[in-house]
Amino acid sequence: MSLTYVLESVLALLVLGAAAWTIAARSAFAAAVGFVSYGLLLSLMWVQLAAVDVALTEAAIGGGLTGVLLLGAVATLRGTEARTNRRPALPLRVLAAACCVLVSVALAVVVLTLPESGPTLAPQAVAALPATGVGNPVTGVLMAFRGFDTLLEKVVLVLALVGVWSLAPDRYWGGHPGLEHRLPADGVLPFFARTLPPLGVLLGIHLMWTGADNPGGAFQGGTVLAAMWLVVMMAGVRDAPAIRELWLRLSLVSGPVVFVAVGLAGMLTAGAFLAYPIAIAKPLILLIEVPMLLTIALALGLLVTGPPERTADPR
């Protein structure tokens, strides 16, 4: 039994343990902490399986952003959590457990009985990669071969944000999300919010840029940027912008708009929607990725801050 096998078994048990703890936790805050732990451990697992792009996304989204989103929900529900009778009836819990076990067993059976070399398009994708100008097959699939799916994802992201905004009471529409954070300007947290984000911005841009040939991409880079923006807002160094600001709305839609524009231009120059002329494929992909980075960073940051809770400043 090789030591690598031992490491992978330890990791698998850790992931399962973190998941079990998250479900069994007594308070919602503890469960959110467990969820973040689960995400971070899972990203380790992905690196062990040599899927570094997935590991990056898991660390950024699962470990950080979703966990903080859940924390925001915990804070909002703090008042009601103590008053509700939280434990559902025993038959319901048994039924839920049975359904979960059924799904897990079905998934395990499917995964374990997969043929050694199942049907896959990976060799064709890798063979066609030089035409796209990028070296990372994941980026090639995301931005070129399945670019349409990526475009729709970004539209869904903006729509989700609109959905979150629609939860605001009418009188706060157009205002600032979240409560104001008031902290002494020379405290530890504002200091941290001034030193960490510049490094984070560098990392986010690096992740997007290096995604062309190495693991990375605009999505992971955008998530790191969103996390840095949230640190700045949580420290009170900058207030959350009012959602009626024109620059905010234009920047939010810039990603999908540029993507669609390139796609339409592709109909004229290369014969199909979202077809790239081979000579300028890589510059086009970069042209799409830069506004996409901005859209993702803004949308994810605003999704975590939530619907407006204060009126906008009078103009």
């Binding site: 030591l3 971070l40 380790l44 690196v47 996390a227 840095m228």
Partner: protein
């Protein structure tokens, strides 16, 4: 450098992290829980770097950098969450 040795050290570090995590998550009150993100971040980064060298994945350092940033971000969020709860419990209001 023997990849098995690197994997062994990575596994050892992860086991220490999990034992520490069990203690932290057992600890009374939320004040202990804020340490979870930091512990996972440091230990996870150590294991990541080791696994990255063992499996010859230079991009693992990028994952480690991302993990460092996000662990710091999650720690701040935890701390603010616990501070808000403490503020509410002690009757103070005004700003999170």
């Amino acid at each position: 450098m023997n990849p098995e040795f690197l994997a062994a050290v990575a596994g050892f570090v992860m086991i220490t992290v999990v034992v520490g995590l069990a203690r932290i998550l057992w600890g009374p009150g939320d004040a202990d829980r804020v340490m979870a993100a930091q512990l996972l971040g440091t230990g996870g980064i150590a294991s990541l770097l080791l696994v990255g060298v063992a499996r010859d994945l230079p991009a693992a350092v990028d994952v480690a950098l991302t993990l460092a940033m996000l662990a710091a971000f999650a720690s701040i969020a935890f701390i603010k969450g616990v501070t808000a709860a403490q503020d509410e419990d002690s009757g103070e209001g005004g700003g999170r």
